[in-house]
């Protein structure tokens, strides 16, 4: 039954339907509504025997999840932004040990400058942490991905991040169908851990491994993600058969038949992109969209297959690598190696800047007229940047850039002289 509810609420109820044993979290915007909802459900007794552990930091949250998972509990947590960074060391331990924790990342920018709004800088920073990363296009998909994530994580003994755009999805109220308990129970078998801390059958987990076997243990992590590449579409197909919804998988193509230009993107911007593409198709412009759901593992073959027919590929990213450019783009370029195509990276929607149909249309118009650079920052206010650069050249002590720019746009009062 569909209800008109907030995305965060939908995720909380879906995670509850997955019957977690341990939920630990430290509050951080914009993830907070999810664990608040779960906390209330645990307190009301609806999730027994689930334990909600209030921790003192995100580092503790991930550490508790590691301990719980090693003891055979289905463990869940959620975070965002600096919270994810604070977990970083423990993230690598969770994946290195092969513990099937599921975590929601309510994507948010990383400071400085401090910013609570959406982009993908946080989860992108943990690109190589060994976690599977799935990106949700819609709130419905975010919910459905959690059910699939527990299944995938526990089958392969690998942790999974479900990434959903903070605020844009978490705080949007729309018609959502929480997967029914009976359906989830049938889809997600009880957690049968590959390794478990059991006093009756004692083992240690977390051995020091030297040069004699480190490569092999690390290779196995790679191998597990390659297995995930095979299992992700299979699990999505099983989910579709059970729940009647096409959620998850490696990627989704939209109106790509005969498309001269294809835009690849991840997350909630895909909805706006699809509307834009519909408008352009009506006007006779041959453009399509590829929504990438699985970023880790990266589906090289599927990406190549989806994009190889296009004359032009634009990768639209909500994060970037300072000093290089696109992050997703680098992998897309690897997937497309040897193909004669024009390729562009568009960095968009940083720190909550809205990605509008008007801006997307402008980018696609520029692409069609061969005016799009290989790397563009969407809607960059060049004059504002130039003003600060001029200040830097003119004054040895030009002051903090963020404060200078806020003063230029009138967001804070001018400095008294």
């Amino acid at each position: 039954m569909r209800r008109q509810i907030e995305g965060a609420r939908g995720v909380a109820e879906t995670v509850a339907a997955c019957r977690p044993h341990v939920i630990c979290a430290y509050p951080i915007t914009p993830q907070t509504h999810i664990v608040e909802g779960l906390g209330a459900m645990v307190k009301a007794g609806g999730l027994a025997p689930c334990e909600f552990v209030n921790v003192e930091s995100e580092f503790a949250a991930m550490s508790v999840a590691i301990g719980a998972s090693a003891a055979g509990a289905r463990a869940y947590t959620a975070t965002a932004s600096q919270g994810l960074l604070f977990m970083c060391e423990a993230l690598y331990n969770a994946s290195g040990l092969g513990l099937p924790i599921v975590m929601t990342v309510a994507n948010r920018a990383i400071g400085a400058p401090i910013n609570i709004w959406n982009d993908h800088s946080d989860s992108m920073s943990q690109r190589d942490s060994g976690w599977i990363q799935l990106y949700a296009e819609t709130n419905q998909e975010a919910m459905d991905l959690h059910v699939q994530a527990f299944r995938l994580a526990e089958e392969l003994s690998v942790p999974v991040m479900v990434c959903m755009d903070g605020f844009v999805l978490t705080h949007a109220v729309e018609p959502l169908e929480v997967p029914a308990q009976a359906g989830v129970d049938a889809f997600l078998p009880p957690f049968a851990p590959r390794q478990v801390l059991d006093p009756d059958d004692p083992v240690t987990i977390g051995a020091m491994v030297g040069p004699e076997a480190f490569t092999e243990v690390r290779y196995l992590a790679f191998h597990r993600q390659m297995e995930a590449l095979r299992r992700i579409p299979e699990i999505a197909a099983e989910f579709a058969a059970a729940f009647g919804r096409d959620s998850g998988g490696l990627l989704h193509s939209y109106r790509c038949d005969d498309a001269e230009t294809i835009v690849l993107a991840m997350g909630s911007v895909l909805g706006t992109l699809k509307d834009t593409v519909d408008e352009l198709r009506d006007e006779g412009v041959a453009v399509g969209v590829v929504g990438l759901t699985s970023f880790r593992p990266f589906p090289m073959a599927a990406v190549r297959e989806a994009l190889k027919g296009a004359e032009r590929v634009i990768v639209l990213e909500r994060a970037f690598a300072v000093g290089v450019g696109g992050i997703v783009s680098a992998d897309v370029h690897t997937a497309l190696a040897g193909l004669a195509q024009r390729r562009h990276t568009v960095i968009a929607g940083l720190g909550g800047r809205a990605v509008t149909r008007a801006s997307l249309r402008a980018v696609l118009a520029d692409a069609g007229a061969n005016r799009l650079e290989s790397l563009r920052f969407l809607d960059l206010d060049v004059a504002l940047v130039d003003r600060e650069l001029a200040r830097v050249r003119a004054h040895p002590r030009s002051g903090p850039a963020a404060e200078n720019i806020l003063r230029d746009i009138g967001a804070v009062a001018a400095r008294p002289h």
Partner: protein, 196 residues
């Protein structure tokens, strides 16, 4: 698609208003998407919330830049924020005030937009009488239902009852009914007024 932008201040239930409007639309079998302006909200700070209503799935995620309707929960914002930016020529404006557009200093709007789609309603006063607190969101939504017909008062009442505990819900429903009747009467008066 019908797009509504709601302006107010932190603490006035702006985000809740957008959500309740979306729930009312959902209850009427429509697709609806409500979302806040995602600021660091605090009491008294300007807040914007959005609601899209359509008869098919809503995919777009950009803020509403060309609204069909504006609800202004706090008239002190009229000269502080560019509230009317992007409003469609046949758009609706409902302002929380006991004064009319001229008295509020926005009389020029009556020549730019359709006169019968510009209304004020003393929502805070109505809220104080029924709810005992200056939270005008439900009152304005009910007036907006009367003005625009985008959702019915019945659907709004159901959304209010879904949102609030029983006693508070009934107080809000009573306030909503008064507001709905008030705006309906205003509209009848405007329809019979000689055009100027």
């Amino acid at each position: 698609m019908f797009q509504t932008r709601i302006h107010g201040r932190g603490g006035q239930g702006v985000v809740t208003a957008a959500e309740m409007l979306s729930v009312a639309a959902f209850d009427e079998g429509l697709h609806a998407q409500a979302f806040p302006s995602f600021g660091s909200e605090r009491m008294g700070a300007p807040v914007v919330a959005f609601c899209r209503i359509d008869d098919r799935e809503i995919r777009v995620r950009e803020p509403i830049v060309e609204p069909d309707a504006l609800i202004v929960q706090d008239a002190t914002l009229l000269h502080q924020v560019d509230l009317f930016a992007g409003l469609r020529p046949d758009g609706y404006i409902l302002i929380n005030s006991a004064r009319d557009f001229g008295e509020l200093g926005v009389g020029e709007l009556t020549s730019r937009f359709r006169r019968e789609r510009l209304l004020t309603v003393p929502a805070t006063e109505i809220a104080m009488r029924h709810i005992g607190r200056p939270i005008p969101n439900t009152v304005l939504l009910a007036g907006f239902c009367a003005m625009s017909g985008v959702v019915s008062l019945t659907a709004l009442e159901a959304a209010v009852r879904e949102r609030f505990p029983a006693e508070l819900a009934e107080a809000n429903v009573a306030a909503a009914r008064e507001s709905h009747a008030w705006v309906s009467a205003e509209m009848r008066e405007l329809a019979h007024a000689p055009s100027d």
